[in-house]
């Protein structure tokens, strides 16, 4: 079976230890987590994990089954890249002098649709949201000028299909 990129979305209770439990499922199968994001979701008191893996359909099914089995997990889904809207965020910290000395940097900021978040005496910070390849392209453009610090977030994504978590929660409570 061919390996593909999958985004796993997990709706769960917000409990200490659940992250460990979920990451352990990948560890046990020797599958690397490419990116991980945990945040609140559209439902009060429900957390959402967004996990990106590069693996086969067979394994992603196995993993999603195991994740869903965890007591505090409400529902887990997986999607291919075509089935989701997804983004990552990145921050670039650059020397302030360069903003004035290197006109090209202003062009990069404009062309990439990124924003300057802050300007200090010594450095300024650019924020960029987008697909992984867009961020990487910007990184490559800025690199020759010198990047003081760089960081990229995990993927966040929403599915194109509907996720009926509220209905599911209702069902759980009715049973």
């Amino acid at each position: 079976m061919e390996k593909e990129w999958f985004t796993i979305s997990v709706y769960s209770e917000n409990n200490v230890g659940l992250l460990n439990r979920i990451s352990g499922i990948f560890l046990k199968r020797h599958i690397n987590i490419e990116s991980l994001n945990v945040s609140k979701s559209e439902i009060d008191n429900v957390s959402k994990f967004t996990i990106v893996v590069y693996t086969t359909q067979k394994w992603v099914l196995n993993i999603v089954g195991q994740i869903e089995k965890q007591i505090e997990v409400i529902k887990a889904f997986y999607h291919t890249d075509d089935e989701t809207i997804y983004q990552e965020s990145a921050l670039f910290k650059i020397k302030s002098d360069l903003l004035f000395d290197e006109r090209q940097i202003q062009n990069i900021i404009k062309d990439s649709n990124s924003q300057i978040v802050t300007v200090a005496r010594d450095f300024f910070v650019i924020a960029k949201s987008g697909r992984r390849n867009e961020i990487e392209e910007m990184y490559n453009q800025l690199k020759p000028f010198g990047i003081m610090q760089f960081v990229r977030s995990g993927r966040i994504s929403v599915s194109k299909e509907q996720m009926n978590i509220t209905a599911l929660l209702q069902e759980f409570q009715e049973k």
């Binding site: 196995n62 089954g65 869903e68």
Partner: protein, 577 residues
């Protein structure tokens, strides 16, 4: 507490009383119907032991001789009763010593609640004396775990622990309780847990799936049932029998499914898997519909997956959705509790006999009988076989004993040759293969079924892994019958070395102590048999004893378990020698 419990029956919420966390733990256990637990005290759990001392009339605590023994005893108790087994330990090494038993319970779906003490809340993360991150350590091998750091959390968390351990596909739960939470007082009230928002223990049966499964079964020419422990856990033994008899389908079992159906039932065709019976293994690759009930297609059952039942349409009755299509792709998955789904399908099943198909099983059985079973049960060679010991136990117990086996050759002989009339009678470590399981598990099994004979079948290797639990048997006069089949080797590993490693017996030869003297040291009646003529009498004497009894049988040193599907081979490649 009596009034408190009485009140509880009438009203859901009862008046609260201010008690310590430790005392609350006792009341929670009593409210959950626990009357027996196994454990080992230590610094971080002492407040609870102090309460156990005060409540001895309500709760019996059995001091294991090692925390691992406590878990296996709790498992044995759970497996024989269907109730939740409880084990308790202190923090640090006490807690880590539970891990093997917890992992065993996880893979064999045994309901168990483990309670561990933990250093006080303010010392967490300080590398305090006997501090260990047991939540982190136990996460991959528990169904659920939780660290309690405040006394007031205790009732809700313990209620949840018992609910989760027992419901759906059962499993072990660990609750780690910091010492301050045991000492602090709070307003106690207890309510049983009836549900957890994010947890759906039993999937609702899908009637379309049931119809589809019924159609497949009714149209099958060569159907085969393979049932596992899901039948026992779901208490669906009667439903299984009804299905097997109505549809006339040969039924085989996994090691943990053993005893769910009378071993002498004419449609019971034996064990599948690595050392299972010849007919069900080889005919797995000839059946047209394979009906798996409450089993999980372990690799020891399937052999090489690429050549497992490829010709068959597979129906999988299963409570755990994560098991469906995990190893074997199914045509129809019937999710739900086995008792419920089997009851639903039964009226849709047409009566059938499948005589020609049965005759194939009989033919294959005859081959195994001639080449393997008869020489094993009625040997003509000089050395004693493990099989003949089992035969004598069957005779003396009239197939009514609970058989607790350890792990290795003797386990395979026990599961192949022990006879059962009653369910929940075969207690063994199936998934994890934990040597040292049987002696403590037999203690738990006996204490859970005092009216039944409990016979532990153990090899000389596994016996020495938890031999210290003889102390429990002696101290509490637990009348288990212990049979050590001594071949002075780690027999199963030696068998593999013989077959696959050119007889290089690396670290499998054992120089053993005098086991009879050791048992005598614990004041346990004991005998040794090395000669066939003494075997029957010794087994009879053991079974007739009202007290604990130890029997060592010196068996042939280099006997092998056959049939055998070598690791990685197909079920069709099963070897008779």
């Amino acid at each position: 507490m009596e009034t408190l419990k009485a009140n509880k029956k009438e009203t859901k919420k009862q008046a609260t009383i201010k008690i310590s966390g430790a005392e609350a733990i006792i009341h929670c256990l009593v409210a959950e119907g626990v009357d027996l637990l196994y454990g080992y005290p230590g610094g971080a759990i002492m407040p609870v032991y102090d309460e156990l001392y005060k409540f001895q009339d309500k709760l019996t605590h059995i001091l294991a001789r090692h925390e691992q023994g406590a878990t296996h005893a709790a498992q044995g108790y759970a497996r024989v009763t269907g109730k939740v087994g409880v084990a308790m330990a202190t923090s640090g090494p006490g807690a880590t010593n539970l891990v093997t038993g917890i992992a065993d319970a996880q893979i064999d779906s045994t309901p168990m609640v483990c309670i561990t003490g933990q250093v006080p809340r303010h010392l967490l993360g300080s590398d305090a004396f006997q501090e260990t991150d047991i939540i982190g350590i136990s996460t991959p091998v528990t169904k659920w775990n939780y660290q309690v750091t405040q006394a007031s959390e205790i009732p809700e968390i313990l209620a949840k622990a018992f609910y989760i351990a027992k419901s759906g596909r059962p499993g072990p739960v660990l609750v780690d309780i910091t010492k301050n939470a045991q000492i602090d007082e709070f307003d106690f009230s207890y309510e049983k847990c009836t549900g957890v928002r994010s947890y759906k223990p039993v999937p609702k049966p899908n009637l379309e799936a049931i119809d589809a499964a019924a159609t497949l079964i009714n149209n099958a020419k060569k159907p085969l049932i393979v049932f596992g422990q899901g039948v026992i856990l779901g208490e669906a033994e009667e439903e299984l029998k009804a299905l097997v008899e109505k549809a006339g389908i040969p039924a085989a079992w996994t090691i943990l499914g053993l005893s769910a159906m009378d071993t002498d039932h004419p449609l019971n065709v034996g064990m599948v898997g690595m050392h299972g019976n010849y007919a069900p293994n080889i005919l797995t690759n000839e059946c047209d519909v394979l009906i798996a009930i409450g089993m999980r297609f372990d690799d020891r059952v399937t052999g090489r997956l690429n050549d497992y039942a490829k010709q068959a349409k597979v129906i999988h009755f299963e409570i755990d959705p994560a098991e469906v299509d995990k190893n074997v792709t199914t045509e129809v998955a019937v999710l739900g509790d086995s008792k419920e789904t089997l009851s639903l399908i039964l009226p849709k099943i047409k009566e059938n006999k499948h005589e020609a198909w049965h005759n194939l099983f009989k033919e294959k059985y005859q081959i195994e009988l001639d080449q393997i079973i008869t020489p094993q049960l009625n040997p003509t060679k000089e050395g004693l076989t493990m099989g003949e010991v089992l035969k004598e136990i069957n005779i003396a117990s009239e197939n009514k004993a609970v058989i607790v086996s350890d792990v290795g050759q003797h386990q395979m002989f026990a599961c192949r040759y022990a006879k059962f009339k009653q369910t929940k009678s075969n207690i063994t470590s199936g998934g994890l293969g934990t040597m040292g399981f049987a002696l403590p598990a037999a203690i738990g099994a006996k204490m859970g079924a005092m009216d039944r004979e409990v016979v532990a079948i153990i090899g000389d290797g596994g016996y020495q892994m938890t031999i210290q639990e003889l102390g429990v048997i002696f101290q509490h006069n637990v009348p288990v019958k212990i049979v050590v089949l001594n071949n002075e080797h780690l027999g199963m590993v030696r068998q593999w070395q013989e077959l696959f490693f050119d007889r290089r017996y690396a670290s499998t030869v054992m120089t053993n102590p005098d086991f009879v003297k050791i048992a005598e040291g614990y004041h346990i009646k004991s005998t040794r048999v090395s000669d066939r003529k003494d075997l029957k009498g010794a087994v009879q004497e053991m079974m007739a004893s009202k007290d604990p009894y130890f029997l060592e049988v010196r068996v042939e040193k280099e006997d092998n378990v056959f049939p055998m599907i070598p690791a990685g081979a197909s079920v069709s490649e099963i070897r008779l020698k």
